[in-house]
């Protein structure tokens, strides 16, 4: 029979959190790709769809291979397993089944062609009836998997989330172009809204123009908080229009006015509040009162934010002197540091923490601070999460580095480091930010030196006098930096073997980032010449094998060679080649040229000479040569990772 078998699973839930939906789809996809063949079925393709209340899986062209039980029983088992295997960080129980899920499961539709796949999960029995809407008892009868999508379409529900995304984008664009404005793009909001509505319908709203006098970042923040879109006009300044997105059901066209005026009322109230906060902040000159930061605890073991500023100052002076040739005037630098965190005291930041930094800069400008100082308040937080924008002015760079390394080092001092999947203080992001700035501006400086020096500067502030704990903390932090650097390089597209080869992590040093990059680039060029690369690796492997054998026999290999007992010219040649090796390398491409030459000689050496000579002195001498060669294969760039 040549029937095209299809199956459908719909998990009907109460409204799922947006973050859970993405995770769920990814996990289900993983299951379909990796696990389903273990059940003895195959399929040609699948579709996964999601709305806030439905997770939908359709399988096409199913073939049943090992017919050990009825297909309906098997599908029931597969569906049960798919649901059971999903895992989440936020989860709950809601009924006596004690089943765990992000939100209650209330309905299950499961079909194989025209038949119901019967199973029960969380006290819900599967059927062919799907809930139509949150606000109706009416249920939709699904005859077969292929009817599913079109059925809902008739009731103005778009099951396919990618389609909802396109529809929303299209409608937004249309609406905005009609009024001659420009939509300020907000992909995150679009991605959220497509799981809050089943069929998007944007409504244009406005707010009182008088609020346009407020800094635009404040207005934008207020509007986005209500999950609405901001619009700018052609001159690229903010307009007093915004867009809310609602569900497009049959009654909508008659009732836009109520919805619009309600949304406008909410935004008006937020802007009214924001304006009074803003006015009062400006009046209080909140941004220049850094002494008040003494009352705000940074961490109970590390003192107040004011204390943190003092540490930042010390580190910044060091960086300014050693890496920026004291080009910053110390009075400007001090001023910028003093103002860098004061906006925490403002009412606006209390209400909208995401404006921290941005609002500090705005207030500092208003109060006539030097523009580099004012800018640095915002810029020293860069790079922000999901952004590549780095601080621009030297003041901002110095503060950004000092602030971050203080956070990192002090956290390790008091034992707040990240471990495993847990990183409650966001140290990984802080470290990556630090490294990105170093990469851009201090590529050639020695990272170990910077870390060690700040470590010493800071330890005097927090009375850290236990020497052993000091060393442990220092090693931990170097390790942490090494891991972050690897992660950063992986994200930049380098392969992990290459990264490990050049990082020399076992040495607990990092060195200059520029060196790491130059090594990486040379290694990649070299590894692309497959013939040479493999020849080199093979040679390295042979050396290792011989030395391993010697080790097994407990042969003592002397450090110092005895040239006088060389028998063959090749020994002398190898000795010369090894002697010409230097750690001081500028161009790593030359190093690889050297390595090929060395490999050729070593292979010749293996051909012409018996290593395990009867004469113990000669034997030891030859092993010693190989040991020295092995060192060359592992110190500059450790090729062991390729074996």
């Amino acid at each position: 029979m040549c029937k095209d078998n299809k199956s459908l699973l719909e998990i009907g839930t109460e409204n799922l959190p947006v973050s859970c939906i993405d995770l769920m789809l990814r996990q289900m996809q993983h299951f379909l790709v990796n696990n389903i063949q273990n059940y003895g079925i195959r399929y040609n393709s699948f579709h996964l769809y999601a709305t806030a209340r439905k997770i939908v899986l359709i399988l096409y062209s199913i073939q049943y291979i090992h017919k050990t039980q009825s297909i309906l029983t098997l599908m029931g088992k597969i569906y049960t397993d798919i649901i059971n295997k999903l895992s989440f960080s936020t989860k709950m129980v809601w009924n006596e089944s004690q089943f765990v899920f992000p939100r209650p499961i209330r309905n299950i539709v499961a079909l194989y062609n025209n038949n119901v796949v019967k199973f029960k999960i969380a006290n819900v029995k599967s059927s062919r009836y799907s809930e139509l809407n949150i606000d109706t008892k009416y249920k939709l009868k699904i005859a077969s998997p292929e009817d599913y999508i079109s059925h809902f379409r008739k009731h103005r529900i778009i099951i396919d989330h990618t389609k909802r995304y396109k529809v929303l984008k299209y409608l937004l664009k249309n609406l905005v172009s009609k009024i001659g404005g420009i939509l300020i793009n907000d992909t995150k909001l679009i991605n959220e809204l497509i799981y809050l509505v089943d069929y998007p319908f944007p409504i244009l709203c406005s707010f009182n123009e008088k609020y346009l006098k407020l800094p635009h970042q404040i207005i934008t923040t207020c509007i986005r908080k209500q999950k609405c879109f901001v619009i700018s006009n052609k001159k690229n300044s903010l307009s007093n229009l915004f867009i809310c997105v609602v569900n497009n059901n049959l009654h909508r066209n008659h009732n836009q006015d109520t919805i619009r005026s309600d949304y406008e009322r909410v935004i008006d109230s937020l802007l009214c509040d924001a304006q009074s906060f803003y006015t009062s902040d400006i009046q209080d000159k909140v941004v220049i009162h850094s002494v008040k930061l003494k009352n705000i605890t940074y961490h109970h073991k590390l003192g107040s934010i004011y204390d943190k500023l003092n540490r930042i100052q010390t580190i910044a002076n060091f960086l300014n002197k050693e890496f920026f040739h004291t080009q910053l005037s110390s009075s400007l630098l001090t001023r910028a540091i003093n103002l860098s965190k004061t906006d925490i005291l403002s009412k606006i930041v209390f209400e909208y923490p995401e404006l921290q930094g941005i609002i500090g800069s705005i207030y500092a400008y208003k109060l006539g601070e030097n523009s580099d100082v004012a800018n640095s308040i915002e810029q020293h937080y860069w790079p922000l999460a999901n952004s590549d924008k780095l601080p621009i002015s030297t003041i901002a760079i110095v503060i950004a580095l000092s602030d971050r390394i203080d956070t990192l080092v002090t956290s390790f001092f008091v034992g707040l480091g990240a471990s495993g999947s847990k990183d409650p203080y966001g140290l990984r992001r802080v470290c990556i930010g630090f490294l990105k700035i170093i990469k851009k501006y201090l590529l050639d400086s020695n990272l170990d030196y910077i870390i060690k020096k700040t470590f010493d500067l800071i330890s005097s502030y927090i009375n850290y006098n236990n020497k052993i704990a000091y060393n442990v903390a220092y090693e931990k932090i170097i390790e942490f930096f090494q891991h972050r650097l690897s992660t950063m390089l992986v994200k930049e597209g380098y392969n992990l073997k290459a990264i490990n080869s050049v990082m020399n992590n076992s040495t607990k040093t990092i060195g200059e980032i520029s060196v790491i990059y130059r090594k990486l680039q040379a290694l990649i060029v070299f590894s692309k010449n497959i013939k040479h690369f493999e020849y080199t690796l093979l040679t390295f492997k042979r050396i290792n094998n011989v030395l391993k054998q010697a080790d097994k026999k407990n042969i003592n290999i002397p450090e110092i060679l005895n040239q006088s007992i060389f028998v063959d010219g090749i020994e002398q040649m190898l000795y010369k080649q090894i002697k010409s090796f230097t750690l001081n390398i500028k161009d790593y491409n030359n190093f690889f040229d050297y390595l090929i030459k060395l490999s050729l000689i070593i292979n010749d050496f293996f051909k012409k000479i018996i290593i395990m000579d009867q004469d113990k002195a000669r034997q030891a001498n030859r092993l010693s040569l190989l040991k020295k060669a092995q060192y060359i294969f592992t110190t500059i760039i450790d090729l062991s990772f390729y074996l």
């Binding site: 409204n15 009924n95 006596e96 209650p104 209330r106 809050l196 609405c228 005026s261 309600d262």
Partner: protein, 297 residues
């Protein structure tokens, strides 16, 4: 033409019907029909309907089903705005529903309750937005949503999971309506003080002067020394009562401590470090009260 008149009449009827007292009585009627017993507000100052023993203590108890609804006057000293903000108050009213176990169509029942008071889901934008609720002072947490009506949060919808670290089974649902916010929508008002409580009395008549005076008290005039002393006293009293297995009176002492903490917080009389400490102190007694209550009923 005819259509417009209909809408107009409908609006007039709505306006006439849905003053605050009829929103309350209609919600009571609706939830009573769902099997809820209608209770009254508690008589100790507190921050939310959750603090009423009908929620906090009784969902720990063994009366099942436990279905109740009541109005709670909720005090949030820090939210006062001297009567100047069109939406914010230091004291407002919640309508609270508790159902244990939870009916499987609870969302639909809730949507119907909104229809019952005149918020039709077909004509308005209703969104369920993830919001997992947590009360640090009660050590309670739940999973749920805030419900938005045309962009305004009007309800907190929570499946309780834990109270003071005690796992709840069966799981109860808590539905908390913000009465004033719903009234603003129904009465088409953009200022809270323009709401009608009854046909004759406005919110302004009742509460504008209260808001002014209480804001002054909360932010400027409360007696910090006395409040701190009272906190210590009620904390001690709670422990003394617990040692006599009087968990219910001890619970009142916890609620008092929690409110005293809120007053001190509004007055900015406690530093951030102290703040955590106060929260932990309330949480510690609340936990003991809950455990004592369960063991002795």
């Amino acid at each position: 033409m005819c259509y417009n008149i209909c809408i107009h009449i409908k609006k007039v009827i709505n306006y006439y019907k849905m003053n605050i007292q009829s929103i309350i009585s209609n919600l009571q009627k609706f939830w009573n029909k769902q099997g809820c017993t209608i209770l009254q507000s508690y008589d100790v100052e507190n921050g939310a309907g959750t603090f009423n023993p009908a929620t906090f203590l009784f969902i720990l108890g063994d009366i099942t089903p436990w279905n109740v609804a009541y109005v709670e006057k909720s005090r949030r000293p820090s939210d006062g705005r001297y009567g100047m903000n069109p939406q914010r108050l230091q004291s407002y009213y919640q309508f609270q529903v508790i159902m244990k176990p939870v009916p499987s169509n609870i969302q639909l029942i809730y949507i119907n309750s909104l229809k019952y008071i005149g918020c039709n889901s077909e004509e308005n934008d209703i969104k369920f937005i993830e919001d997992n609720w947590e009360s640090p002072t009660l050590g309670a947490y739940g999973i749920g949503w805030e419900v938005w009506l045309n962009g305004t949060e009007i309800t907190q919808f929570t499946y309780f999971q834990h109270i003071c670290g005690i796992h709840l089974s069966p799981v109860p649902i808590e539905i908390t309506y913000g009465i004033e916010r719903i009234a603003m929508h129904l009465q088409h008002k953009s200022n809270i003080y323009d709401l009608q409580w009854s046909d004759n009395i406005s919110y302004k008549n009742l509460y504008l002067e209260c808001e002014k005076q209480w804001s002054q008290y909360n932010f400027e005039r409360s007696n910090v020394k006395m409040l701190k002393q009272h906190f210590d006293d009620w904390e001690q009293e709670a422990y003394r009562l617990l040692s006599n297995n009087l968990s219910i009176p001890a619970y009142d002492a916890v609620v008092k401590c929690s409110h005293l903490f809120n007053l001190l917080d509004a007055r900015k009389a406690i530093s951030i470090a102290e703040r955590t400490d106060y929260i932990l102190r309330v949480k510690a007694i609340a936990k003991l009260v809950a455990e004592n209550y369960i063991n002795n009923i």
